[in-house]
């Protein structure tokens, strides 16, 4: 059974149809890539899953239960963690305190929450920054803090929104390693990403959308060779330089 199923999901912003009858199913344990050019509706799909906006129509099924109308905090409590494209750490708190705030979802006492937060920081490689204020972190560390905060809520499904944007090549490799490590720990990952190098390297399957509509779905190789995907990214007549990945 799919862990997450999106059925005919549609979002209208006034007269604009940002997402148009999108369907996909994510299997437990996989890394599922969601790609598409700027403004194609990827983040809107995430925002409907975590219920920052209600879906105009269609449904979202998580572990067999309909969560289309479930509130944001309840979606998280059910086991869906997410990060934001624009990083949103609690700026005036330390890195550790940021993660403790998340850990309280599954912990009752301060002691338990602190312990869980320290473990998650270790897992995500942020322990050296535990005492730093969140606003003083580099972009790479902030992105990592976003992932750490989401992981501290102990999700079974993690939605990653452009966690690789703004990273240098070395940091990209570290980010890829972290995402793989998260999957190995048993968490299913849905990732929205612009950087092809990342998405091609880690995704088991990729779903590509443009103008809110599905173009294709398949393995990274299949998607990269699909003529409409190439056209959407490079314009018609563009080359296929991603195909070799």
């Amino acid at each position: 059974m799919a862990i997450l199923e999106v059925k005919d999901l549609t979002k209208n912003f006034g007269g604009l149809r940002a997402v148009d009858s999108v369907n996909f199913a994510v299997q437990p344990g996989e890394i599922f890539g969601l790609i598409g050019p700027n403004g194609s509706g990827k983040t809107t799909i995430f925002n409907m899953i975590s219920h920052f906006y209600p879906a105009s129509s269609g449904s979202i099924i998580f572990n067999g239960a309909d969560i289309t109308r479930t509130k944001t905090h309840q979606v998280c409590a059910l086991g869906i963690g997410r990060t934001f494209q624009i990083v949103r750490p609690l700026k005036r708190m330390t890195v550790l305190d940021n993660v403790i705030a998340s850990a309280f979802l599954r912990c009752r006492t301060m002691g338990e929450a602190r312990k869980a937060a320290e473990e998650t920081l270790e897992f995500c490689g942020l322990t050296p920054y535990a005492k730093h204020l969140a606003r003083g972190l580099s972009i790479a560390s902030r992105k990592r803090l976003e992932i750490t905060r989401a992981m501290a809520t102990r999700p079974t499904l993690l939605l990653l929104d452009e966690t690789a944007a703004g990273l240098n090549p070395g940091e990209l490799d570290e980010a890829i390693a972290l995402i793989k490590q998260i999957r190995e720990s048993g968490v299913t990952v849905v990732i929205v990403e612009h950087i092809m190098r990342v998405i091609m390297a880690i995704s088991d399957r990729i779903h590509c959308i443009n103008h809110g509509q599905t173009i294709t779905e398949g393995t990274p190789r299949e998607v990269a060779n699909h003529p409409e995907v190439i056209a959407a990214y490079l314009g018609h007549g563009g080359g296929g330089q991603y195909a070799d990945h």
């Binding site: 905090h73 998280c76 934001f84 609690l90 005036r92 301060m110």
Partner: protein, 331 residues
């Protein structure tokens, strides 16, 4: 721990012996006001400083607490001291529907709504004469002639409110409040029911403020709508106490209460009576007029003070203490 807390413990020691050392009724009265403001400021700090929900309606809860105590004695001939127990819960009750309506909304709605709430309560207390006696106000017999019992009650309440603050900031509640203040969407995304926790914060604020209001009634023996539902002297004053002292710091409202009560009193009394003495010495002229204007100008002075504090010490006296120390050393 003890070292870090050195000045706080010394302050506590001074406060404990103050009424024994100082016999003057006027200064005892001012200290009781300071302690009441510590409680009210701490409550506002919890809601606005920690949870990020700026309220202009503190007077609503203060007045409800005060009237709870006053009306128990006035109508039911029950001791006004029961107001200390009931004033807080009643203030929470008033806050509940208000929070319920305004918290799911974003932006300035809560702040605007709180302003309206304070004014609605003031008008209600003014017009509903059969219950509140309107502008005539409520007069009750004070239990004690001495100010000392009131002083220690106010001190106990102030200590209790700081204790609540200490406990909250070290618990799940504190983490949730600050998360909501910093970013409401991010807070919801880590599983925090933001509306519910904002309600909890509002209730704590209302409870502390209402209890302080009930103590005020017992202490002063007289209230009317203009006094306890005052926008400038209660709601705005609460904001100033916290901003001057340090928003989002536990000791901020303590320091702010001392400063603001002093400022308010300097203006109201014309430099503790100094201007009046000067007028008598000089014998008239323009001074009586000046004195009259200055004593009425404390609200204006509040405004000027806030502008100065925000420009020079944006984090308040406690929040910018290290900066103040550096400046003093240089100077």
């Amino acid at each position: 721990m003890l070292r870090e807390r050195g000045w706080e413990l010394s302050l506590l020691a001074v406060l404990l012996v103050f009424p024994l050392a100082v016999q003057d009724a006027y200064f005892r009265h001012l200290m009781i006001l300071v302690l009441l403001w510590v409680t009210i400021g701490t409550g506002w700090n919890l809601l606005a400083g920690y949870t990020g929900q700026v309220s202009f309606g503190t007077a609503a809860f203060f007045g409800v607490g005060a009237y709870t105590a006053g009306l128990l004695a006035h109508h039911l001939e029950i001791s006004a001291w029961w107001g200390l127990l009931l004033g807080g819960p009643l203030a929470v009750l008033v806050g509940f529907p208000f929070g319920w309506i305004s918290f799911p909304l974003r932006g300035a709605y809560f702040a605007l709504g709180s302003l309206a709430l304070g004014e609605i309560m003031r008008l209600l207390a003014t017009v509903w004469e059969s219950l509140t006696e309107g502008m005539v106000g409520i007069l009750i017999m004070q239990t004690f002639v001495s100010k000392v019992p009131y002083y220690y009650l106010a001190l106990g309440l102030a200590l209790a409110s700081i204790l609540v603050m200490e406990l909250v900031t070290r618990s799940r509640l504190g983490y949730y409040f600050v998360s909501i203040r910093e970013d409401q969407d991010a807070a919801a995304s880590i599983g925090i029911d933001t509306t519910r926790y904002k309600m909890v914060s509002l209730s704590l604020h209302a409870f502390l403020t209402g209890t302080a209001g009930a103590l005020y009634m017992n202490y002063m023996g007289f209230i009317d709508p203009q006094v306890v539902f005052s926008l400038s002297d209660i709601s705005i004053m609460a904001i100033l106490v916290v901003i001057v002292g340090g928003v989002g710091t536990i000791m901020g409202p303590v320091v702010g209460a001392f400063v603001m009560v002093a400022v308010q009193e300097i203006f109201r009394s014309g430099g503790f009576g100094g201007l009046k003495a000067l007028t008598q010495a000089v014998g008239g002229g323009f001074l009586p007029v000046l004195t009259k204007y200055i004593t009425q100008a404390h609200v204006l002075a509040f405004g000027v003070l806030v502008v100065v504090v925000i420009m020079t010490l944006p984090n308040g006296i406690v929040g910018d203490w290290s900066r103040i120390k550096r400046a003093l050393r240089r100077g």
